[in-house]
């Protein structure tokens, strides 16, 4: 369990989370990025940039 950096609600996390993965905060719906696994740290995921790729 960890807390949402946006609304501080508890965020249930399973332990095979990988760095970079995105999870949703059920409470406020924010998209959270796993910044580090151990210790587990979450941050607001960057918003969607207009994307063309190559």
């Amino acid at each position: 369990m960890t807390s949402c950096p946006e609304c501080e609600a508890d965020v249930p996390v399973d332990n095979d989370l990988e760095t970079g993965e995105i999870i949703l905060c059920e409470e406020c719906g924010a998209e959270l990025e796993v910044i580090s696994e151990d210790p587990l740290k979450l941050a607001l995921a960057p918003d969607e940039e207009e994307d063309w790729g190559e």
Partner: protein, 267 residues
């Protein structure tokens, strides 16, 4: 002023394109050639045991995952091999070509995406070491300098981020931004298909003409790479380019045929 973009798919008709460029430049046309090399990059990546990894963004766009190592393979295939094959062939035909990628003289600059959000094996993920972005600025000073002195610029990705990092960019969009910057009358985009097809499997379903108000409809029809070409065409038209033609690179005299309206003409 004419900008010609040649797709990077398999079997790029280097000779046919270069013959047309020679004829057009000899008739006094100011011309810039832009080319891709995606197929060549895949072949090189496979041969080096680092098969290309494509990721799909949350908005459904597919792109090559380009970490630093992939970026080097990208540069080797685009700039080292394809660009110089075009330059060599043009020189043999008497066209004094100068090959440049976007890093050279900051000819093509833009924003590097700090991170991209992708969906992989069902998981949504943020990738931060991806060196991709988009072209926003063109160094017209350098290109005009070369054109005014009898050189024919042959451009290709990569571009350069504002922080001066080499970045993988979409060649179709780069061509559109270039065409606008050059105030080109015409942008020709050649690839391995006849043009915009209503039905991919039916070459007779070619959309011959798209007027400005039919652009949205065209966007809906277009799929995959063709979608990016139509997006590029729209950006070019909105930027002041008179005509964009999506032509078939496999034809004899492909540029000439496109200029005669063979393919999909957007204006």
């Amino acid at each position: 002023m004419l900008v010609v973009k040649v797709g990077g798919g398999e079997g790029i008709p280097i000779d046919a394109v270069c013959q047309d460029v020679r004829d057009l430049t000899q008739q006094g046309e100011r011309l810039i050639l832009v080319h891709g090399a995606s197929h060549e990059t895949n072949v090189l990546s496979e041969a080096l045991g680092k098969p290309p990894r494509f990721v799909t963004s949350v908005s459904g766009m597919q792109s090559r995952y380009t970490d630093r190592e992939t970026l080097m393979l990208f540069c080797m295939a685009y700039v080292g091999k394809l660009n110089k094959l075009f330059v060599e062939r043009l020189q043999q035909l008497g066209v004094n070509a100068v090959g440049l990628c976007g890093a050279d003289g900051r000819s093509m600059e833009g924003t590097r995406k700090a991170a991209i959000k992708v969906v992989e094996d069902g998981k949504r993920r943020v990738l931060r070491d991806d060196f991709t972005g988009r072209v926003e600025r063109v160094n017209m000073g350098l290109l005009t300098l070369l054109l005014d002195n009898g050189y024919t610029p042959v451009l290709c990705p990569p571009a350069l981020s504002y922080e001066s990092e080499i970045i993988n960019v979409d060649g179709d969009r780069a061509a559109a931004v270039l065409a606008v910057a050059c105030k080109a009358e015409t942008l020709v985009m050649l690839s391995n298909v006849p043009g915009l097809l209503r039905d991919l499997d039916d070459t007779d379903s070619l959309v011959r003409c798209v007027e400005r108000d039919q652009l949205d409809a065209a966007m809906d029809i277009a799929q995959g790479r063709m979608k990016k070409k139509v997006m590029g065409a729209r950006e070019a038209l909105e930027g002041g380019v008179g005509t964009v033609i999506l032509g078939d690179a496999r034809l004899e005299q492909p540029i000439r045929r496109a200029l005669q309206g063979c393919g999909t003409v957007l204006r």
